[in-house]
């Protein structure tokens, strides 16, 4: 512990925030979908993985990374719309476990389709040229790309916040989350709202996958690991709470990077320990409403 300078800790803190930004993007989609549709999307990791592969494919076609930043969320979001409309919609009102089971089976299909199309082994994903290198952030040189991830996540969050709080469609979404029945009585087609929410959530997951690709490469199984970690984020933050997902996502990222500084072999276990502690003290999570899920 003696060798840890303040600068090193501060750097690691930023690394943790960049990692946390990926968790945040992944978890807000999960949380948004759950908050509105009460569906736990087990295929969220698969959408994340497909996002990275679509990015890889577009870049190999000659498209650049900046184009992918727009195209990937749109493509993955559209996939999400199709999945909601044709697979999940028939299951509403059949018990909370069924959409979960369905998306779980769907993730198998998606992973295997990607394996058929791109093979079982992974690919490296180049950091776009403009974002290579490092910048001085006061405490040392920090990779520019990680800073960029934090920036994109902040921009997406801001956009989502403006969309939910300042537009009339956002108002309908918030109302639909609170009481779908009343919204339906007021003449709003709630199923259309749910359709779009599912699409938005999946689109953000695809974006998160694309952003994570240069950090860790692209493999068909990349979604399963982050899914388990994102569940920790949602449990810690409180299911269905977007603010909770943001804070818990950043916290989990920082905990992972801080633990890897002190005890690298315990880095993966630490976040589950964090979850266990939160479960013991506050089972509904930081911002969760008690009894919401019963």
């Amino acid at each position: 512990m003696a060798g840890l300078s303040f600068d090193l800790i501060a750097m690691q803190l930023f690394t943790g925030l960049a990692l946390g930004a990926i968790y945040v993007l992944f978890a807000i989609g999960l949380s948004l979908i759950f908050g509105m549709l009460t569906v736990v999307n087990f295929a969220h990791g698969a959408f994340y993985m497909v996002g990275a592969y679509v990015g890889l494919f577009l870049v190999s076609l000659g498209g650049n990374f900046w184009l992918c930043l727009v195209a990937v969320p749109l493509i993955i979001g559209t996939c999400g719309l199709v999945v909601e409309r044709f697979l999940i919609r028939p299951l509403y009102g059949r018990g909370i476990d069924y959409p979960l089971l369905l998306t779980f089976g769907l993730s198998y299909v998606m992973i295997e389709l990607v394996r058929i199309a791109f093979g079982k082994s992974g690919y490296p994903f180049d950091t776009p040229e403009l974002l290579q290198g490092a910048v001085n952030i006061g405490v040392g040189y920090f990779p520019l790309y990680r800073l960029f991830i934090i920036g994109v996540a902040a921009a997406v969050l801001l956009g989502l916040w403006l969309f939910l709080e300042r537009t009339s469609f956002g108002l309908i979404i918030r109302a639909g989350a609170r009481d779908p029945q009343i919204v339906r009585v007021l003449g709003v087609d709630v199923s259309r709202v749910w359709l779009f929410v599912f699409g938005i959530g999946c689109g953000i997951a695809g974006l998160a996958g694309l952003l994570a690709a240069p950090l860790q490469g692209v493999i068909p199984e990349m979604g399963s690991t982050i899914l388990a970690e994102a569940f920790v984020v949602t449990v810690v933050g409180g299911m269905g709470s977007i603010g909770g997902a943001v804070i818990a996502g950043l916290l989990v990222g920082v905990v992972v990077s801080m633990t890897s500084l002190v005890a690298p072999e315990m880095a993966k276990v630490s976040i589950f320990a964090l979850m266990a502690i939160v479960l013991l003290i506050r089972p509904q999570g930081f911002f969760g409403r008690a009894g919401l899920m019963s």
Binding site: L87, L91, L100, F104, Y108, L227, E229, K268, V269
Partner: protein
């Protein structure tokens, strides 16, 4: 058996005679099926796998089908059973008849820890928490290389011969191995049938049907859930211990999320909440895996698609749908 038939709810008596007979003697009939099963299979190795995974799905189904809690972390219980049994043999040189109970006990303790944490949350959280905790167990076993062999798996579980009070059985012979495993599975079938037919079994189903009403009737819902989770863990641990003996190695993949998913898929394919369902599910799943892998490596695509279709159109599973059809 007499106790079991007496403890069964009266409502079942009104059903068709032979159907009632099947339900009443489900453990005996399942045992007979288990005994003749290898004769119907093309190779015995597959039959042993079906038996072990069937037991694993059976343990999972106690929790999911009867109590109504969806766990995505049963790989941790199955895996602990295998690892604790294996460690007892490899590192402590214990004989199999001590190693198997150690595996079962280890899995039950693991279930008490995971279950104790997970049942603090409710409803949909449960699946997420169990999945996350099983991932944690994976990393713990993965890191403990000295005990578990880490990535290479735990090797050297060599049981060549079963010595039972002077009778010697050759454990290498596939058919002997099958009946060795079958003996434990049959024991588990009777124990499970007894649990389900007991007043406690009725409480389990009461909690699934209506938690508030069960609580109002004076039953301790939390305790019922914890005990059922531990029992489920013990069944899965037995399956894991048998797996360790059968494979003579414990691969680290046994703790993967995919192994948890297998229990979910088998239970749902076969029919959750039915006694034979998990075995039917395990048989269908593994046979499908074997058949489809003959012509493509992408068998998961088919299994996944069939599972999705099952969720959409046959939520009662193969066995459950068959039962409904027979009843009407």
């Amino acid at each position: 058996m007499n106790e079991i038939s007496q403890a069964l709810p009266q409502a079942q008596a009104s059903r068709v005679g032979w159907f009632d007979f099947v339900t009443r003697h489900r453990a005996i009939l399942a045992s007979v099926l288990v005994l003749v099963f290898p004769l119907m299979m093309p190779f015995t190795a597959l039959a042993v796998n079906i038996l072990i995974y069937g037991l694993y799905a059976l343990g999972f189904n106690l929790l999911f089908g009867y109590l109504g809690l969806l766990s995505f972390g049963h790989a941790a219980l199955f895996g602990s059973g295998a690892y604790f049994c294996g460690i007892a043999i490899v590192h402590f040189g214990l004989p199999w008849y001590l190693a198997i109970p150690i595996g079962v006990l280890g899995a039950a303790v693991m279930a008490a820890i995971i279950g104790g944490l997970a049942i603090r949350t409710r409803g949909i959280y449960f699946a997420m928490v169990t999945l996350a905790l099983s991932q944690c167990v994976f990393y713990l076993f993965y890191q403990a290389v000295d005990w578990t062999g880490g990535e290479n798996g735990l090797r050297g579980i060599n049981v060549r011969e079963i010595n039972l009070f002077g009778w010697r059985f050759d454990f290498i012979d596939p058919l002997t191995r099958y009946y060795f495993v079958a003996a434990f599975v049959i024991l588990a079938l009777f124990v499970l049938s007894r649990i389900l037919a007991s007043p406690f079994g009725a409480v389990i189903e009461a909690v699934r049907e209506n938690e508030a009403r069960a609580r109002a009737s004076g039953y301790n819902v939390t305790l019922t859930r914890l005990i059922t989770f531990i029992l489920s863990g013990a069944f899965c641990g037995l399956a894991g211990a048998l797996m360790a003996l059968h494979l003579s190695i414990v691969p680290i993949e046994i703790l993967h999320i995919e192994t948890s998913g297998m229990a979910v898929m088998m239970s749902l394919l076969g029919g959750m909440g039915s006694f034979f369902g998990p075995f039917v599910g395990a048989a269908v799943f593994l046979t499908l895996e074997n058949l489809v892998s003959l012509w493509t490596v992408h068998w998961q695509l088919f299994v996944g698609a069939i599972f999705v279709a099952c969720v959409l159109f046959f939520p009662a599973g193969i066995w459950g749908t068959l039962l409904k059809w027979v009843k009407s």
